[in-house]
């Protein structure tokens, strides 16, 4: 069992070590709850971007990309490893 804060902003790298960006969000398909109920929400995509100081402060809009969860090979202590083929 992990907490979101432990995996948020982790480096996203490919299997051969190429740095893609930082995980700035985790996207779950399906509308935000409006009266219906689910016991849990599956995360379907990781939203990542080059996330420097300017982006963190909100001064520059981060260029977001997504990668589907089934491309994720492993979530480690300090990074998220994804398959080599880059997703849009």
């Amino acid at each position: 069992m992990k907490r979101l804060s432990e995996i948020l902003y982790l480096k996203v790298v490919t299997e051969d070590g190429k740095f893609l960006g930082h995980a700035i969000d985790f996207r779950s398909a399906g509308e935000p709850e409006h009266g219906d109920s689910r016991d849990e929400r599956a995360v379907d995509e990781i939203v990542y971007a080059r996330f420097g100081m300017l982006e963190r402060l909100g001064l520059r809009k981060a260029e977001e990309k997504t990668i589907p969860m089934n491309s994720v090979r492993a979530i480690e202590e300090d990074r998220i490893v994804v398959a080599d083929a880059e997703a849009g």
Binding site: K2, L4, F26, D39, V47, I75
Partner: protein, 117 residues
């Protein structure tokens, strides 16, 4: 407003205000519980509320101090309790039913002794 077809859990759930079924504020989504499954599967299962959840988001020494002085309580609100997500997260039950009103009740016992409360 576009009807959004997804939920970004870091930007739309984490650190958002929780309100109970009576629209009373009952804390923030201080962290979210996620389960890692095999093959990179990830699912969000609960909202975590409380000093311990907050302390764990602090680095190093601050975390130790926070847990020492502010306690280690954390309340787990299962995701099934979430009713409506807008700019706030409305829950289905009352704060008391979810265990989110402990500190507020203790403070109320103190405050209500003073006339005019």
């Amino acid at each position: 407003m576009n009807q959004q077809e997804y939920l970004d859990i870091a930007r739309q759930v984490l650190d958002r205000q929780l309100i109970d079924s009576n629209n009373i504020p009952c804390g923030k989504a201080d962290d979210l519980e996620v389960e890692c499954g095999p093959g990179g599967r990830l699912k969000m299962t609960a909202i975590l509320v409380g000093p311990d959840a907050r302390a764990r988001r602090l680095p190093g020494l601050l975390r130790t101090l926070a847990r020492r002085f502010l306690g280690d309580k954390v309340v787990r609100v299962p995701w099934g309790e979430v009713s409506v997500i807008t700019s706030q997260i409305k829950l289905k039950s009352r704060a008391s039913e979810l265990g989110l009103d402990g500190a507020e009740r203790r403070a109320a016992r103190l405050i209500r002794q003073i006339p005019g409360a």
